[in-house]
């Protein structure tokens, strides 16, 4: 698949996952909360387009987009979301946790902000390895108010770690508008004070995101240090599915849905003379693939409860 189509394909894969999961949730077939990635597809896909398999990625509680963009296998990821035995973490991680060491995907997190220091640790490994690897850490604008954010910016800058700090600013942290918790709404502006570059990017434009990512990754690979990218975007759904979203207007939501990253990119592709047929066939294939993944996930066994006692410790080596 060519590059242009690949970006689209990844975004559509995420879109399909998120839409179909919402349907599953509406039918009461999903166990627990869904932190939807709907509307933010261009962020994960644009960033990961700049990464290699051996680059590291640390995610957060809203991770499906990140996982899929970095290449996680769909079915075992999906099964994990449902907490099934066939899930990539054996069904113990659930909706907020999936990982794949082979792709450098270091997992999700239930603790807001906690991924930042871990991402820095992976970047330190990359620096020690000296093979030009980088680490990316995704976090929300809400997380940027946690202490871990300042510690990470400072240390990454001081050590010139190959770390790309990606803030997905979707304007809300749970039910609280970001504007209510800050005096200055651009997270990227905090970078300079710590001695690292920060950049605001249109997070709904996958090409802009990819461009910014390539610049940041380039810097990181050559030892020039970290970058903070703030991707301005929007969480179409509530904090979790079912959240009544009283804290914002339906108009605001509609305005942002107009800026749909897929719609925008589809228009661009058509301008580039990519034929509508190949786009449609991707849509159809992914729809089916995701349906199948969800079907399999629903049908899969729950883990045996006794397995709760496995893996508390790794085997000893001493």
């Amino acid at each position: 698949m060519n590059d242009a189509l690949h970006l689209y394909e990844r975004m559509m894969l995420i879109r399909q996952c998120e839409e179909q999961l919402n349907d599953v949730f509406a039918k009461n077939l999903f166990p627990g909360y869904i932190h939807s990635y709907l509307g933010q597809e261009a962020c994960a896909v644009g960033i990961c387009a700049a990464l290699n398999d051996d680059d590291y990625l640390m995610s957060n509680h809203r991770g499906r987009g990140h996982y899929l963009a970095k290449g996680m296998e769909l079915r075992s990821m999906m099964a994990e979301m449902f907490g099934k035995e066939t899930g990539i973490a054996g069904g113990r991680g659930g909706e907020m946790h999936a990982a794949d060491p082979a792709l450098g995907i270091l997992g999700g997190n239930g603790i807001v902000g906690a991924g930042l220091p871990i991402g820095a640790g992976a970047a330190y490994t990359a620096q020690l390895n000296g093979k030009g690897q980088v680490a990316v850490v995704f976090f929300g604008e809400g997380a940027s108010n946690n202490g871990s954010f300042g510690e990470t910016m400072n240390l990454a800058a001081a050590w010139k770690l190959p770390l790309i700090m990606v803030c997905e600013n979707n304007l809300y942290a749970e039910m609280t508008p970001f504007a209510n918790t800050v005096a200055q709404p651009d997270v990227a502006m905090r970078a300079e004070g710590y001695g690292m570059p920060g950049e605001v990017v249109d997070g709904n434009d996958v090409l802009e995101v990819r461009k910014a990512a390539i610049r940041a990754v380039e810097r990181a690979r050559v030892g020039a240090g970290p970058t903070l990218l703030e991707l301005k975007t929007y969480r179409w759904g509530g904090h979790f599915q079912g959240d009544p979203r009283k804290y914002r207007s339906r108009e605001e939501e509609k305005a942002w849905m107009e800026k749909c990253p897929l719609k925008r990119y589809r228009a661009f592709m058509l301008e580039q003379d990519i034929d509508a047929g190949s786009i449609e066939s991707i849509d159809l294939r992914l729809k089916t693939e995701v349906e199948e993944a969800i079907r399999l996930a629903l049908a899969a066994d729950e883990p045996r409860p006794e397995t709760a006692l496995d893996h508390v410790f790794a085997g000893e080596v001493a």
């Binding site: 113990r92 991680g93 659930g94 942290a173 749970e174 209510n180 729950e302 709760a308 006692l309």
Partner: protein, 324 residues
């Protein structure tokens, strides 16, 4: 008298205290405009305004620190840490600052601070949202720790916590938020540090906390059918623990079981066991038993939780084996 949920009982408690004392304030993530991440501070913003009921950034350390500083300077803050799984981000403010300031300065500052927090234990939300960590807090001198198991207790203890001049960590069980109970309309407090005998009995003393209280009572009904009468004690306060009430009961029953949703090693059960043993050793016909989840994190999913946690059946079985 009105029937109230655990959640509304807490809102009522805070509402009443905020009305009677204007130094009471409420700070935390989503507590104001959204009425609480779990709806447990609804109406408060409307009643008391945005200066006294205030949304904070996601900054757990300063959430508690704000409370410490405000408490030292004459306010009676309630600060909220949404899940107690997040304690690792603000424990310094709790154990080194809130709990020690009165001590260090020989009483120069009072610390009338309530740290309101929740456990979602047994709700299937996975390893970072399913922990009950009261044992850590019980190890801290200068800190009080309460954990109510009924709506009425929740209300009375919250009011006591707000009026207390010491820092109090108030642990709510989210899984109980919708449980209902009749609560009188008058002003009342439930004293911190006082256990409640939820059922009288003669055969075995069962010390149960939080979610396990109702299960112990269910087990009691079952066991009664076989003529076994257990005494169910809910300490309600984790620290300082009302060990006297427990020991008195054990002196009568000669057997004790501690049931918790928190982990066993270095846990609540160990503390109660050690204290009972120390004080009532020669009254014991059997070693104090501890019934807890096994020593592992809680994976995602309710099936795991159901398998891991004590329930009425396993409580009844433990009682029988203690007698047996």
């Amino acid at each position: 008298m009105a029937s109230k949920t655990y959640c509304w009982a807490l809102i009522d408690a805070i509402h009443e205290e905020m009305s009677r004392d204007e130094t009471v304030v409420l700070l935390g993530e989503d507590v104001a405009e959204a009425g609480g991440a779990f709806g447990a501070s609804r109406t408060l913003l409307e009643s008391f305004g945005p200066r006294r009921v205030r949304d904070t950034p996601i900054s757990e350390e300063i959430i508690v620190g704000l409370g410490v500083g405000a408490a030292m300077t004459g306010k009676r803050p309630i600060v909220e840490i949404m899940f107690m799984d997040f304690l690792g981000l603000c424990l310094d403010q709790i154990f080194n600052q809130a709990a020690k300031t009165h001590y260090i300065y020989s009483g120069a500052f009072k610390m009338p601070l309530v740290i309101r927090t929740s456990t979602a234990v047994e709700m299937g939300i996975g390893p970072h949202h399913s922990q009950l960590l009261e044992s850590w807090l019980g190890h801290v001198p200068g800190l009080k720790v309460v954990m109510p198991s009924t709506p009425r207790d929740a209300k009375g203890l919250m009011k006591a916590a707000i009026r207390d001049d010491n820092p109090v960590v108030f642990i709510e069980h989210l899984a109980m938020h919708r449980v209902k109970e009749d609560i009188e309309d008058d002003d009342f407090v439930i004293p911190i540090g006082k256990a409640d005998v939820k059922r009288k009995g003669r055969d075995v003393t069962v010390v149960a906390t939080g979610l396990q209280v109702a299960r112990a009572l269910a087990a009691a009904d079952e066991l009664a059918k076989d003529g076994i009468e257990i005494e169910v004690i809910d300490p309600r306060t984790i620290s300082p623990l009302d060990i006297d009430t427990i020991v008195e009961s054990v002196k009568k029953t000669n057997r004790a079981l501690v049931v918790t949703s928190s982990l066993k090693p270095f846990g609540f059960g160990s503390e109660v066991s050690a204290e009972i043993t120390e004080r009532a050793f020669f009254h014991l016909d059997a070693p104090v038993a501890r019934l807890t989840p096994p020593f592992a994190p809680a994976p995602f999913g309710k099936k795991f939780d159901a398998w891991l946690n004590p329930n009425a059946e396993s409580i009844a079985a433990s009682v029988r084996s203690l007698l047996g």
